[in-house]
């Protein structure tokens, strides 16, 4: 396991990558991406057992599915820096003829992506299918997912949440990024979702909370705890509280940077708050 300083340096570089990707094409979703930099780093730099020599079937590997595909900048940064494809390819984010589409897709053959996502609410069902296939294959590895909190407003999630508990899909760890924001404003204003912990528990999930999803040691601790709870007849949910826009002071605690790129001046300011660590692409 890399030490915490190394992981934090990785996170800082990922933040730079996110900001530079969206700035270059003046589009994309920096807010949620920045908020999940620790989570992706923890998964791909510490927690998951995977092969960066990508194979779609992922037999005898842990799998990860991103359901809220709009936070592709953080996914692309972490995949490239974990060896799935050249880091320089981040330069092609959202450009024509690129494998780095606005939302992740398998269609262009980008290593590391196993399903298209972007239209919200579909990732949990797909992950359940992959988890069922692992059970059939007697493969004891784990399937991980990430969902936005606002995304849970999509009804398909609740079909999947019901199925996973009812069918004891206990090789599944689903994390909800609880940042309390969505495009139109705070989730509490757009469509209040009530007590998510109580809801997941009522459906039969084992739920744990990570109160500071922007503290990488807390995220790793939470994921390891979740791992220890797999194989016990219940799917595991992590409610992970993060701050949208984390790491860039003027992007934090607001929904305004959900889908807006910084201008030149804002980029300079934001990058100054996240100094280069592993080397820019």
């Amino acid at each position: 396991m890399p030490n915490i300083q190394e992981l934090e340096d990785f996170v800082t570089q990922v933040r730079r990558d996110i900001l530079r990707q969206v700035h270059k094409v003046n589009s994309g979703h920096p807010g949620g991406s920045l908020g999940c930099a620790e989570f992706f780093t923890a998964l791909y730099q510490d927690v998951m057992d995977y092969n960066s020599d990508f194979d779609m079937n992922g037999i005898e590997e842990d799998l990860f599915f991103l359901s809220n595909g709009h936070i592709s900048p953080v996914f692309y940064s972490v995949l490239s820096r974990s060896g799935f494809f050249p880091v320089e390819e981040l330069n092609t984010f959202r450009l024509i003829n690129s494998r780095l589409q606005g939302h992740p897709t398998t269609h262009e053959g980008l290593p590391g992506i196993r399903i298209a996502s972007g239209s919200l609410g579909q990732g949990l069902s797909v992950a359940i299918g992959a988890a069922e296939a692992k059970k059939l294959n007697k493969d004891s590895h784990i399937v991980y997912t990430l969902h936005g909190d606002g995304e849970l407003q999509e009804g398909q999630n609740w079909e999947a949440i019901m199925y996973a508990a009812g069918n004891k899909i206990d090789n599944l760890i689903s994390t909800v990024d609880v940042n309390g924001q969505q495009i139109d404003g705070a989730t509490d204003h757009v469509l209040p979702m009530g007590n998510l912990k109580a809801k997941f528990e009522a459906f039969g999930w084992d739920v744990l909370e990570v109160k500071d999803g922007n503290d990488i040691s807390k995220v790793i601790e939470g994921l390891n705890e979740a791992k220890s709870r797999t194989g016990k007849g219940k799917p595991v949910c992590i409610l992970m509280t993060t701050v949208m826009g984390h790491g860039v002071d003027f992007m934090m605690h607001t929904h305004k940077w959900h889908g807006v790129a910084p201008n030149d001046e804002q980029l300079e300011n934001a990058l100054a708050q996240n100094p280069e660590t592993l080397g820019d692409y």
């Binding site: 779609m56 079937n57 992922g58 037999i59 799998l63 599915f65 897709t105 398998t106 269609h107 196993r114 399903i115 298209a116 996502s117 972007g118 239209s119 579909q122 990732g123 949990l124 069902s125 797909v126 992950a127 359940i128 299918g129 992959a130 988890a131 069922e132 296939a133 692992k134 059939l136 294959n137 493969d139 009804g155 398909q156 079909e159 999947a160 019901m162 199925y163 009812g166």
Partner: protein, 317 residues
């Protein structure tokens, strides 16, 4: 004129069930998913013989489509089963993103298509599904005509890599294609040879087309009947070869004339060999309750309608 014998009425959905049962034995990667319609889809045998490979999803079709997509990751070949309406329109975006755009090897198997679902009425009688599915890039669309062909198609799609929409129906209809016949995806089947008019039919309308051809024959009109079981990819060569000979065409399908087989044939002709065409199909309408026969008659989907359309198109040559 070549004659075909009905070896006894059978439902196409039972052909699907029989095919799935066989696949259970022959292909261990085949898994079956159902959204609370196991009996209607004739999936009971598969469920009984392979409980570990049968997944009861409950009344949650969107989740079923997603789970099926996920199961391909790990090498499974999922067959989903529910009514055509709930297999397509209800879950269009799930199919679009998680299956078609994601290039997943899922077989979407849809029963009770069209008006012949009967008494349940328009909420369940989808007449738009061929259009919905054929518009998805990469999706293969198959609509089989009888029990034997549905069984053969079910076996064939398991060996084919890529997403498939397999459409069949509820009522017992004539079973006339060969038992254990080979099913070639994308290959039209010429049923009768003729020189005056080409009748291109799919699904339940194929038998009606054969009956129409006999009637036309008695009137001195020579009809060439083509069974198009695969609507996408369309066997354009077979269509063009026939229409170049006859100079006109009638298309027949249990589907809306907007977006169905007929429009695919029209496009092929317009691009290559423009010729008069008549459409035996529903005309931008919903269905209603009734018996299958009553509905086929009311919505102009039977041999009589094909004969009329043939006579009309002949005059336009």
């Amino acid at each position: 004129m070549k004659k075909y014998t009905n070896t006894g009425n059978k439902d196409t959905r039972s052909g699907f069930g029989a095919g799935l049962t066989e696949l259970g034995k022959s292909n261990e990667n085949v898994v079956a998913l159902c959204a609370d319609l196991t009996g209607s889809l004739k999936m009971d045998d598969f469920k009984k013989n392979h409980p570990e490979r049968f997944f009861q999803i409950g009344i949650a079709e969107a989740n079923m489509i997603g789970i099926a997509a996920g199961m391909t990751i790990g090498g499974k070949i999922p067959f989903t089963g529910t009514f055509a309406n709930f297999s397509t329109g209800r879950v269009y975006d799930q199919i679009r993103q998680s299956i078609a755009y994601s290039d997943k090897n899922v077989k979407i198997c849809a029963s009770h298509a069209g008006v012949t679902l009967g008494e349940d009425g328009a909420t369940h009688q989808i007449l738009e599904d061929i259009g919905l599915m054929k518009m998805l890039p990469g999706m293969t669309v198959i609509n089989t005509c009888d029990y034997n062909q549905t069984k053969a198609a079910t076996l064939a799609i398991a060996d084919f890599e890529g997403p498939v929409y397999l459409r069949f129906g509820r009522p017992k209809v004539a079973n006339f294609t060969p038992e254990d016949g080979k099913f070639e995806i994308g290959k039209a089947v010429n049923l009768t040879e003729g020189t005056d008019v080409t009748i291109i039919a799919t699904g339940h309308l194929v038998w009606e087309a054969l009956k129409a051809a006999e009637e036309l024959n008695e009137k001195g009109i020579s009809a060439e009947v083509i069974n198009i079981h695969t609507i996408k990819p369309l066997d354009e060569q077979a269509i063009l070869a026939s229409v170049k000979k006859t100079g006109c065409v009638v298309t027949a399908e249990e589907h809306n004339f907007l977006g169905g087989l007929g429009e695919s044939v029209s496009r092929t002709l317009v691009e290559n060999f423009p010729a008069p065409q008549e459409f035996v199909a529903t005309k931008d309408t919903f269905g209603e309750s009734g018996t299958p026969e009553q509905l086929m008659e009311k919505y102009g989907l039977n041999a009589e309608a094909i004969v009329k359309a043939s006579e009309k198109v002949l005059k336009r040559k």
